[in-house]
Amino acid sequence: MTTAISLTTPDAIALDRRSKELRKMIVRAIAAGRRGHVGAAFSLVEILRALYDNILKYDPAHPRWPDRDRCILSKGHGCLALYALLADKGFFPAAELLKFCAPDGILGGHPEYGKVPGVEASTGSLGHGLSIGVGFALNARLEGQKHRVFVIVGDGECSEGSIWEAALCAAKHRLDQLTVLVDYNKQQTYGTIAEVQGVEPFADKWAAFGFVVREVNGHDVSALTAVLSEVPCEANKPTAILCHTIKGKGVSFTEGNLGWHHKSKVTQAEAESLFAALSTE
């Protein structure tokens, strides 16, 4: 079930230039909006990068292209990372990032379907995205369509009962076109997942619910790409990929720091220090 990669040391991955540049895009939005879920966004960057750089089929000029792969960010509070990738790919001008949370901007603190090109579902309240993804994948199966559906959920989000209702349903309908990626950074707002409400044995839970399970270092783009290239891993079964990550990954003072889960009233100095850290670390 597991690969040979060290799963317990996602911090051992040194970020390359692209990962740092994507995080700088996030910091520009945070500086403009003076707020944001920093930890969740930094945790997600490599997962989204692997998907949008190497796996998903899409056309930024035609965001609703019917044959595209669908990617739902169910943990909508990590949207700054998604915005960075979508801007980078040309779904909308990067200048939009500088209007993050502004009255005339399209990019809010949680992503909105119909407002942001490339966003497949409005999320923000946890526990909705996987069920919507089940609907997407079920329709694809009923219609004989070949596109795939990827849903990124948080580890804290997996306390929501609806996640497990959706998991049961996905297995029942044999949705091998559906893949769940869990951003398993092991922290939530109050503290660690283990402390607040543990999810272990996590891989066993997903397997028991009828999923093929893979585990991967969620900051290793090559490893993520390799695992994602395998899906569907098994005919007639959905896949769950536990991506072991570090909340706030990429800047020493945000990594594992609960104070950066959601930050409001971000000062110019804080934004500059984030930017400086990403320029040197």
Partner: protein, 310 residues
């Protein structure tokens, strides 16, 4: 009424391949013809309303028109946020067929009494709310649900309700129906209370009180202009509904009357369920009697207001 609504789903499914039925652990024979003939348009899911509603939103975003059926309380209270966000915010074409609107499940107790469904769904932008009076009207309205943008909530009565709607009057989603004209008083009603209103109006006429009846089968979008026009013509307005008095039809009509600022002021009264959890079992009829949702009460209220007016 439930049978008619499900028969209509079968008809609509045959007519339009986008239609897909989703049940939540319903009886074994539910829509078996649809399942046999069009298996790709029939789903029977587990007891998981939150997932079903969001999944239906996903199906709708891909172009399907899902019709979900289960017990009204589970389809509204249980998954309210899924309705608000995945149906309302996304403006998805999902149809909720709610069994046992109001006091239908009286013997089963308060967990099964959908007495607040209209109030909580009125607050959801893009929602359409239908409460037909009988099976014939259900059929007329169901035919139109295919084309409505956004989600639709369809409130079912007990079944076997007397047919009091009329096929000679236009029946259009969003338009109230003037069932009877009157110059002394107006009864505004919805759902199966239409029969109570019509019975009361006949008796009131016998007592020389000319009473109109306005049937509001669509509670959202509310036909405010028709209601405002009808209430403007009479001095007395009484609403009746099988629903809590907090936020239902009576509240909606009160808002229209209050904002219109009629001079002289209208005499206005609401009949419905008070702010309580019903504390008895029995039958739908016995619980309606307990809360004075009867034609006798309507007659008494209108007559009292009429005498006070004179």
């Amino acid at each position: 009424m439930r049978k008619t609504s499900l028969d209509m789903v079968y008809e609509l499914a045959k007519r339009d391949s986008r239609v897909i039925f989703i049940g939540s652990d319903l009886g074994p024979d539910t829509l078996k013809q649809l399942k046999a003939e069009l298996p790709g348009q029939f789903l029977m899911e587990g007891v998981s309303e939150a997932n079903i509603v969001s999944m239906a939103a996903g199906l709708a975003m891909e172009g399907r028109i899902p019709y979900i059926n289960t017990i009204a309380t589970f389809l509204t209270r249980r998954c309210y946020e899924q309705i608000v966000l995945d149906l309302g915010l996304h403006k998805t074409k999902v149809r909720l067929i709610a069994s046992g609107g109001g006091l239908v499940y009286a013997p089963l107790g308060p967990t099964h009494l959908a007495i607040d469904d209209i109030a909580i769904l009125r607050a959801v932008p893009h929602m359409t709310i239908l409460a037909p009076a009988d099976a014939a009207e259900m059929r007329r309205l169901m035919l139109q649900t295919l084309d409505v943008d956004g989600p639709v909530y369809i409130r079912l009565g007990k079944g076997g309700d007397p047919i009091v709607s009329r096929d000679d009057l236009p029946c259009e989603i969003g338009k109230a129906i003037e069932m009877r004209e009157g110059c002394d008083a107006l009864i505004v009603t919805t759902g199966i209370c239409l029969q109570l209103a019509l019975d009361a109006a006949v008796e009131l006429q016998n007592r020389c009180i000319s009473t109109g009846v306005l049937h509001v089968h669509t509670l959202k979008p509310l036909d405010s202009s028709a209601i405002a026009a009808s209430v403007s013509r009479v001095p007395i307005i009484v609403t009746i509904e099988e629903h809590t008095l907090m936020g239902g039809l009576g509240s909606a009509v009160a808002e229209i009357v209050a904002e219109a600022g009629f001079m002289p002021a209208k005499r206005f009264k609401r009949i419905g369920i008070p702010d309580v959890f019903p504390d008895q079992y029995g039958s739908q009829a016995s619980l309606m009697a307990r809360y004075d949702i009867t034609s006798e009460r309507l007659i008494a209220v209108v007559q009292h207001l009429h005498e006070a007016h004179e």
